[in-house]
């Protein structure tokens, strides 16, 4: 019984710590509620919301099925192309950065510096990349491709690093027992593991990049984003409706495929 009671009192006392964290979080939230300001809500907001819904319900079908170069189909194709190339280029840039920032591979100082660099790369908004890249390529979808590439680097390399650090190293041991050299271990032990993971990450990011494309419009970098934003600013709701429907359908379809593909890659 002695030890029983003793154990009862032995309970680790982290209640105070938990309480403190909770209080701090609550305080932070209360503080941030000051960001909310509902005075600006006006009836017109509701009118606009209902107009938007009406627009979605009565999309401009001519525009939706317009296959010329200013029609939605063409712009969606352009958006896909931008996201696709952008993801590929982003990945090409991200892979070396990922290896260089995996502390299981390079010295931790190098990894640390590269991680800092990646934070910087991730923080610069697409808008600023757009301006920088327009100087290189001029306005148009080409700038969009490069902007998407830069915007993707941060997340891609973070996920790549996770995959690299998750590597199953048991395999390497058994390959060593087969008499394989380091190069052979990489080729047959690491690459097969990473290849499908990386591919799955790239598909995931491609999916996201389709959504990011709306940002591109801001810098005149092609795709469906600019017309969408122009249409919204001009309150042309039927046009907004048809663009949104096209975009959402596209993204849903791509998501469906990419989910299938990814689970096939990862789970086999």
């Amino acid at each position: 019984m002695m030890t029983l009671e003793k154990q009862l009192h032995n309970a680790p006392k982290n209640n105070r710590y938990l309480l403190m964290v909770t209080v701090i979080i609550l305080l932070l939230f209360t503080w941030s509620i000051t960001a909310l300001n509902f005075n600006n809500i006006e009836q017109s907001g509701m009118v606009i919301a209902s107009n938007l819904v009406k627009g979605l319900l009565n999309p401009d079908l001519d525009l939706l099925f317009d296959f010329t170069s200013s029609g939605i189909m063409y712009l969606l194709m352009e958006t896909i192309a931008i996201a696709f190339l952008g993801t590929i280029i982003g990945s090409i840039l991200a892979i070396p950065l990922a290896f260089l920032s995996a502390s299981s591979i390079v010295p931790s100082l190098v990894a640390y510096i590269i991680r800092l660099l990646l934070i910087v790369v991730r923080t610069v908004p697409a808008l600023v990349y757009g301006l920088m890249l327009i100087r290189v390529t001029g306005p148009g979808p080409f700038a969009g491709v490069l902007t998407i590439a830069f915007v993707s680097i941060g997340m891609l390399s973070k996920l790549f690093v996770d995959a690299i650090e998750d590597l199953d190293t048991d395999v390497l041991e058994s390959m060593a027992s087969l008499g394989c050299s380091t190069m052979e271990k990489i080729r047959y032990g690491i690459i097969p593991q990473l290849f499908s993971m990386f591919l799955s990450i790239m598909i995931y990011r491609f999916d996201m990049n389709l959504r990011e494309a709306s940002v591109l419009g801001l810098v005149g970098a092609g795709g469906i984003g600019a017309p969408l934003i122009f249409a919204m600013n001009g309150y042309r709701w039927t046009e907004v409706g048809s663009i949104l429907i096209g975009l959402v359908l596209l993204i849903l379809i791509v998501e469906l495929f990419s989910n299938r593909l990814r689970s096939k890659l990862v789970r086999g």
């Binding site: 006006e42 009118v47 327009i134 390529t137 001029g138 600019a226 122009f230 309150y235």
Partner: protein, 338 residues
């Protein structure tokens, strides 16, 4: 699609194609890219300027340049066009004087647009409200004014009443209203109104509590109509351009002239420029003067007038850098306020 790139140039003289009216020994240019700023609804600019491609190709051909393709892009913001011009990825830019001054390290002004003067040109806001609606006049001018316009919202009406009663507005009254401005490099949409605030109250736009940045005048008017904003700043004949939408698209019952009032008038602003890039590979003095000639000719033709009217341009005059020295001063003031 076939064109190999934005700026690849083939300066070698080639034989006349004989197909159109291009003269012999013309210099061939694969592509000439023109950037527009979104001071109008950009979709409209693209469609409305489509004929400009042909006009310009024809004019340039008769001036010794065979242009393969004219590529018109509308930047979603002023900066994109400015940077492209400054880097030489865009060859010609139709940009406001203010933008030109900011990017003059890489751009060179070729022309200034002219437009019809207006029936109102007073410095006092009250005069504009008494003489409604504002109509165009016949003579051409190289400058225009920016207006502070109060909308149909309660606050907007109150401000207008005060102005029309001949009372002075205080800064606090202005500060209580919500403002809609344009990108900070837009002269009518930002710079000159800031100057106005500076001259009258020793304040600037960033001192205002409720400022919204709109990306086109159309949306600024839409918000004014919806009562989301009380004051918008814009160019002097913007109300004429939005007269139709006011009742149709924005769903107001009364006309724009009845529902909006001028509460402030800025000094004159030099009109838009046609600027050429200094860093473009194809640009040289000859091409620049060809472009000057071409635009002036277009401004004089019937067909051309219609195209450039989308911008409220009615013609062009040759311009030089020093024309915009005033603008530089204005910006210096605004920037130093910032």
């Amino acid at each position: 699609q076939e064109s190999s790139g934005n700026n690849s140039v083939d300066t070698s003289k080639t034989e006349a194609t004989g197909e159109n009216d291009s003269g012999e020994g013309n210099i061939e240019i694969d592509e000439l890219s023109i950037g527009f700023v979104p001071s109008r609804d950009p979709d409209e600019i693209i469609t409305a300027t489509e004929p400009l491609k042909n006009l310009l190709t024809e004019e340039l051909a008769s001036l010794g340049y065979d242009v393969g393709n004219i590529d018109i892009t509308v930047g979603t913001n002023y900066e994109a066009v400015g940077e492209a011009l400054s880097a030489g990825t865009t060859d010609v830019g139709l940009i406001p004087g203010g933008t030109y001054v900011l990017y003059d390290d890489g751009a060179e002004v070729a022309l200034t647009a002219t437009r019809a003067g207006l029936s109102n040109d007073s410095d006092a806001a009250k005069d504009w409200n008494e003489n409604k609606p504002t109509e165009p006049r016949d003579d051409q001018v190289t400058y225009y004014r920016a207006l502070l316009i109060a909308g149909p919202s309660e606050k907007g009406q109150a401000l207008a009443d005060k102005v029309n009663n001949g009372e002075e507005l205080t800064f606090d009254e202005l500060n209580e209203a919500s403002w809609s401005v344009m990108s900070s490099s837009s002269p009518a949409g930002y710079i000159y109104p800031a100057l106005w605030l500076q001259e009258n109250y020793n304040k600037t736009i960033t001192d205002l509590d409720q400022v919204v940045q709109a990306d086109s005048y159309g949306s600024a008017f839409a918000r004014l109509a919806a009562g989301q904003t009380d004051i918008l700043v814009t160019y002097a004949d913007a109300r004429r351009d939005n007269e139709q939408s006011w009742t149709d698209d924005f769903g107001r019952d009364a006309s724009i002239w009845d529902e909006t009032n001028v509460i402030g008038v800025t000094p004159g602003i030099y009109n838009d420029t046609v600027s050429v890039s200094k860093n473009s590979d194809i640009m040289d003095d000859d091409l620049k003067s060809a472009i000057q000639e071409a635009f002036i000719n277009i401004g004089e033709s019937e067909e051309g007038k219609e195209v450039i009217s989308i911008y409220s341009h009615e013609g062009y005059q040759k311009a030089q850098d020093s024309d915009y020295d005033h603008e530089r001063e204005a910006q210096k003031i605004v920037q130093s306020l910032n």
